[in-house]
């Protein structure tokens, strides 16, 4: 049995969390608390609805941490041999994922499934990420109040977008007061809604049209920036001094990559106590000066301009070739959290309008 559409009353959210909690972890935005500003949230495993905090601004850290954690034990070893490679069996329900973050999962899925490179290459599957994804249900929450830093509609996204979501939840009135409209996007989403049908009530026949109207209103709040031709221009501007101008104030702090939903660079290191140890992977960033340093001392990207160029071109050019999509989803976190307020939208405009020829 499957279910396409239904309403979830606010009072029933807690019951849903309890029901899910029997077999899966329930992740949703919760107040960041210490270190955060009011209205700032992060994804946390919740056990009750009162811990949930659905705010206008996106979570501080993106949803990628649920599938690709900052620190992950790949395997443990002893006396030179593998002892264990952890599996990840516990299913996951993530609620309140903004459409920009949901869309980012489409890209990350390709990377970790080995489908983000030229055909003819070997397909390597990452069991750590893929097992978690397989056992997950992504319930996206549509945005009605995009922020000034949001620009999803300029990169093929939408505040009511369903890319990467199993279910799209949207408000019917006031968030936290009026019911949420749940609409299944995938079979996984349909099955989830059927499983919890007892907590859902039928949506009216006009629900889709009302949702369309809200979607259009939300999208209309964001100016659509013209990024057409950016890839071609960037490809042709590799040696242009525009990259120096763009990157000049960058501190190389890496915050942009850590808060970004589609940055997936990582490092692999071994940590030992005696002859026992673990091989772990941790987030890394192409913005660090030593990222590409060879053992010989040769560094292919010794200058800041090269590293900033790599970041922008990876997201707006290279992944178009390898994964068929611009990998930036316009979530705006890099704009909000850069200590020197570098704005990727302005950087792209600079590249697009750069008159400079090759140096």
């Amino acid at each position: 049995m499957s279910m396409d559409r239904g309403l979830l009353a606010v009072k029933d959210l807690d019951a849903l969390i309890q029901a899910v909690g029997k077999t899966a972890a329930f992740l949703a935005p919760a107040a960041m608390g210490e270190g955060g500003t009011p209205r700032e949230t992060v994804f946390r495993a919740l056990s009750s609805a009162e811990e949930m905090s659905l705010e206008k601004v996106n979570t501080r850290l993106s949803v990628k941490g649920a599938f690709f954690p900052q620190r992950e034990t790949l395997m443990s070893f002893e006396a030179g041999a593998i002892v264990d490679a952890p599996a990840h069996d516990r299913p996951l329900v993530i609620f309140g994922v903004r459409p920009c973050d949901a869309k980012s999962l489409l890209f990350m899925d390709k990377v970790f499934a080995g489908q983000a490179s030229a055909p003819g290459n070997v397909t390597h599957e990452d069991p750590y990420y893929l097992q978690r994804r397989k056992g997950s249900v992504v319930i996206a929450l549509a945005c009605d109040e995009p922020c000034a830093s949001c620009f999803c509609t300029s990169v093929g996204g939408h505040p009511y977008g369903t890319d990467g979501a199993d279910i799209l939840a949207s408000r019917t009135g006031a968030l936290g007061i009026d019911p949420l409209l749940l609409e299944a996007v995938t079979d996984k989403g349909r099955a989830f809604m059927a499983e919890h049908a007892a907590l859902l009530t039928p949506a009216g026949a006009d629900a889709p049209a009302a949702r369309e109207a809200r979607a259009a209103a939300a999208a209309a709040t964001m100016p659509i920036l013209d990024f057409s031709g950016v890839k071609e221009k960037a490809d042709a501007s590799f040696e242009s001094p525009v990259w120096d101008r763009i990157a000049r104030i960058c501190l190389g702090c890496g915050v942009c990559t850590y808060v970004c939903p589609t940055c997936h660079c990582f490092d692999i290191t071994d940590e030992t106590v005696g002859s026992r140890g673990i091989r772990i992977r941790t987030w890394d960033a192409c913005q660090y000066p030593l990222y590409t340093m060879h053992a010989s001392g040769h560094n292919p990207r010794p200058a800041k301009r090269a590293r900033m160029r790599q970041r922008i071109m990876h997201k707006y050019s290279y992944t178009v070739d390898t994964a068929g999509m611009v990998s930036c989803t316009g979530c705006g976190r890099c704009v909000r959290h850069c200590p020197v307020n570098l704005d990727i939208r302005q950087m792209l405009a600079a590249v697009k309008n750069d008159p400079g020829a090759a140096q």
Binding site: T37, Q70, L251, C253, G254, D267, Y288, C338, Q346
Partner: protein, 334 residues
């Protein structure tokens, strides 16, 4: 209220016209929440973009090592070092002085434009005051700051309540020893946050450790604190070495704690307590309590605060015969 931005623009333009500068580091209007952001300009024409308001909190000295670094030069054929101008508050200047003492740039290659400071706005306090709403523009006033919000509302906020803690307690609001001092109002001299350090130091050691552990537990090892700090400029940070690997690279708590302990200790005698590290941290870790504690310890042990004076050698690179040897001879004495 004087329009300091205009003064800065004129002085910058003159300096370029007189060919006294290759680069000038200042502030320009940014994009997020109507704040300013650092800018590096290279011509008189670009001086037009210079700005100055209550959001110029970044410590610009962070760009100095980068602008002066270069590969080893052949003797007799050295390329001359650049001439770089900086628009400096008291904190920026004290960092620059520390860097000059560490030979990161010769003083004669710097042109310093000093700006008396009334204090800079704390983005987090601002966000708290308007309950996380988005800001479209800010207008700085004498007593008030007017915030125009993205949702159309206008809010008037008391300036003092919005300032950064570092600014509220600042002891050096007027930069001294600059080449050009802009005329303007400075805030009154503060007490350097004495009470914060005292209350932290009054805690039992185990409580202090718990506080430290609690704060650092949020660390995601992004190194933004290190990159934003003007006096953290090692080409290869100890945290990234693998031969030997001093610490692990992950968010494992002990590794994160040791990273911060060592980084903060490396700043002893050099940290000017500007809070650039804390502002950059995406997890909102309260680094201020710990950086200020180290700075207070240096004051107590060596009677030294990094200031404007280019002559006083920093204590931790200075050795005199009558230095205390107690830490060797009587290590258990507290």
């Amino acid at each position: 209220m004087r329009d300091l931005a205009n003064d800065i623009r004129m002085i910058a333009k003159d300096l370029f016209d007189q060919k006294r500068l290759d680069t000038l580091v200042g502030f320009e209007k940014g994009s997020a929440g109507a704040r300013c952001r650092p800018v590096l300009i290279a011509s008189a024409a670009e001086a037009r973009s210079l700005a100055w308001d209550a959001t110029c909190s970044n410590n610009l000295a962070v760009y100095l090592p980068f602008l002066f670094q270069r590969p080893p030069q052949r003797k007799g054929a050295e390329i001359p070092l650049p001439k770089v101008g900086f628009v400096v508050k008291g904190c920026d200047l004290r960092s620059i002085v520390a860097l000059v003492k560490e030979k990161q740039a010769p003083r004669e290659n710097l042109v310093l434009i000093g700006v008396p400071c009334r204090g800079m706005v704390d983005e987090r306090k601002l966000a708290a005051a308007i309950d996380g709403a988005e800001i479209a523009s800010l207008e700085d006033g004498d007593e008030k700051i007017a915030a125009a919000l993205a949702d159309g509302r206008s809010v008037s906020l008391g300036r003092e309540e919005m300032l950064q803690d570092a600014c509220l307690t600042c002891q050096q609001p007027v930069p001294e020893g600059v080449d050009v001092l802009i005329e303007g109002e400075a805030r009154p001299v503060g007490d350097n946050g004495d009470s914060l350090v005292k209350s932290f130091a009054a805690l039992a050691v185990s409580e202090r450790w718990m506080r430290f552990q609690q704060e650092i537990s949020r660390c995601i090892r992004c190194y933004a604190c290190r990159q934003a700090c003007p006096t953290c400029y090692c080409k290869e940070c100890f945290a990234e070495m693998n031969s030997p690997a001093w610490i692990g690279v992950s968010t494992e708590l002990t590794d994160a704690m040791i990273f911060h302990l060592i980084r903060i200790f490396h700043q002893a005698g050099r940290c000017v307590e500007c809070d650039a590290c804390m502002r950059a941290c995406p997890m909102g870790i309260d680094l201020r309590t710990f950086t200020k504690k180290i700075a207070a310890d240096v004051r107590e042990l060596f009677g030294f605060t990094p200031g404007f004076d280019l002559e006083t050698p920093p204590p931790l690179v200075t050795f005199t015969e009558d230095d205390s040897q107690e830490f060797i001879t009587e290590p258990h004495k507290t």
